[in-house]
Symmetry: C2
Subunit: 335 residues, 2 copies
Amino acid sequence: MEKRITMAHGSGGRATQRLIEEIFAPRFRNAVLARMNDAALLEVEGGRLALATDGHVVSPLFFPGGDIGRIAICGTVNDLAMMGARPRWLTLSFVLEEGLPLADLERIADSMAQAAEEAGVQIVAGDTKVVERGHGDGLYVSAAGVGIVPPGVEVEAANARPGDLLLINGPVGNHGITLMLRREGLHFDAPLESDAAPLNHIVAALLEAAPHTHTLRDATRGGLATALNEIAQTAEVGIVVEEAAVPVDEAVRGACGLLGLDPLYVANEGVFVAFVPAEEAEAALAAMRAHPLGRRAQCIGRVVADHPGQVVLATALGAERILPPLSGNLLPRIC
Amino acid sequence: MEKRITMAHGSGGRATQRLIEEIFAPRFRNAVLARMNDAALLEVEGGRLALATDGHVVSPLFFPGGDIGRIAICGTVNDLAMMGARPRWLTLSFVLEEGLPLADLERIADSMAQAAEEAGVQIVAGDTKVVERGHGDGLYVSAAGVGIVPPGVEVEAANARPGDLLLINGPVGNHGITLMLRREGLHFDAPLESDAAPLNHIVAALLEAAPHTHTLRDATRGGLATALNEIAQTAEVGIVVEEAAVPVDEAVRGACGLLGLDPLYVANEGVFVAFVPAEEAEAALAAMRAHPLGRRAQCIGRVVADHPGQVVLATALGAERILPPLSGNLLPRIC
C-alpha cells in the first residue's frame, strides 16, 4: 500500500521526527542542519546581507522542466541574486496535505537538493506542518534565504537611471505557458518546458563584467511587463522596450496567440533583466552569452528621463504604447 | 459588502501591489521594507547569526490570548532566542485562501505588528500567494528570522550536561487547552488563554544572570515531554523531571482531566526550559522571576549521566517512569 502523509506527521512528535530523519535529513545533509537546533548557527564576516522569502503554491506539483521543489529553491536564490548577493543558506517551511503520497514528497525533496546543489546553497533549517485533506493541495512550501552582498556591489530597484540599457538573459513566457498547457491538458508538437533555474552564477558573471550594474529584477509572476513597471515606479524613471528585441520562442508565441495571452505578462522562473550603464553593456552582454542560461541574451530597451513611472513599448511597426502592469489574474497559481 | 481576498490578489500585478500597499506596508513600516527590493539589505558586524523558520496553520485563526499572526511572530522569535540570539529581522510568507475577509487579514497584520514591536524585531521582506476556495483554511503563514548571537553565548541542544538544573519560566498547557476548548465549543468558568509571547527579552535577562547556560528549548508542539526528549537524544544525556515541580494551572489540570490529556504533552507558545549549571541556577531563577513572563519560574529537574537519551518522570508518590516523546497526534493544527 502506498505510504501517505497523515495528521500525525504534523504532531511534532515521533512521526514528525521520522519524516525529518527519513526524507529531509538524508537529502539536505550538512553540518549545520545535523546539529538539531531550533535555529541554524552561521558564521559571517561583517558587511551586508540580503534576506528574502518566497512562498510556492504552484499547481500541478510536477511539470515539464521542474516541480514545486525546484522553483521553491530557485525563487529564493533568484530573489537574493537580484540584490547582487551570493546566496548561501536557505530555510524551508512545508504545509503538507493529509494524503500526499510520501513518494511525491521524496521526489520533491530530491529536486530541491539538486537545485540547491546547482545554486551552491545549503538548506540549514526547516519546519513541517500538516493540514487535513481538503485544506491544502498536496504541498505548499515557503523558502527563505540569506546571501552575502560582496563589497562594491550596489544593485537596487531604486538605482536604475536614464541612459541604462536593459539586458535580458533569455526568452520569456516558457514557464507560464508550459504550466497553462499542462493544466488544460493541451498538447503542442513543439517541446515546451519551464525555465526554472538558479540565476546566481550568471548574475555573478555579469557583475564581474559590468560592476556598475544598477538594478536586477527577475520577471516572475506578472511577467516582464509587470517587473519593469515595478522598477519604473520605484526608481521614478521611464522605460522603453523594443518589442521586436524581446526573445520569445516560436512555440510560446504560437500558444499565446491561440490562448489570447501576451508573452510579456506570462510568468518566468529563470528570466531576469539587468539595468546596465551603456559603457558596460557590451561586456555585460558578452558575459551573459558565455553562460548557459544567457546564450540568447539581448538588449531589449533603455531607461529614459521621460514619462517617469511608466513603461512604453516601441512596436515593430514604429508605434509606441504604454505597457501597464498586469491587472486581473492571467494564470492563477503559476508559482 | 465585505471585502474579501480574490485570486487576483495573488497575481503579482496591480491587486497584489494594492494589498501590500494598503495592508502590510502601513503596519510593518520600516526603512528596509520601504525600498521595494526583491530581498532586504541588512548591515551586520562579523560573528554568528542564527537563522530559523516556522510555519503556522493554527485553527481557529483567532483564539483567546492571540491569533495566527501573534504566534507566527513569536514562534520564529522564540526559535532564535533558544539559540541565545538577539532576534532582529523577520520575513513573512502568506498563503491566503480566496474568500478570506480583508478585515481578518488586517486584524492579523495588526497583531503581527504588535508582536514584532514587543519582540523588537523588524519585518523586512514578504511574499503573498492566493489559493482557490477549498484549498486552504483562511490563512497559512511561514515566518523566517535572523538574529545575532552575542560573543560568548554558547547555547545549543548538544551542550546539555549532567549536573545541569532544568528551569522553566511558567505553567504548561495553556495554549493547547485554550485552542482545544475553543475548537470543541466547550466553556470553562476559569479564564484560559494562550501564553503566546516573545521570549527573547526574558532569555536575554537569563543569559546575563547565568552566562554559562548550556541549552534552551521552547516546549511547543508535542509539549514539555517531547522538547525534553529531543534534548536528551541530541545531547546524549538523561533527564529527570520532578512531576510535582512542573507548574500547571488549575483550569488546565481540570480540562486535561476531563479530556484525558496529559499537560506535559500539550503545546505551549510561551514556555521554555533552560539547562543551567547548578552554580548559576539561583541567579538564573531570580532573573527569570523578575521578568513578567517568568514570575512562576521553577526548577523542575536535572540532567543525569544515567539513561542517556531518555527522560524519566519522578512522580509525587516517589515512583519513576519513562516519559517518552509524543506519539500519534494529540491536538492537530495547534500552531
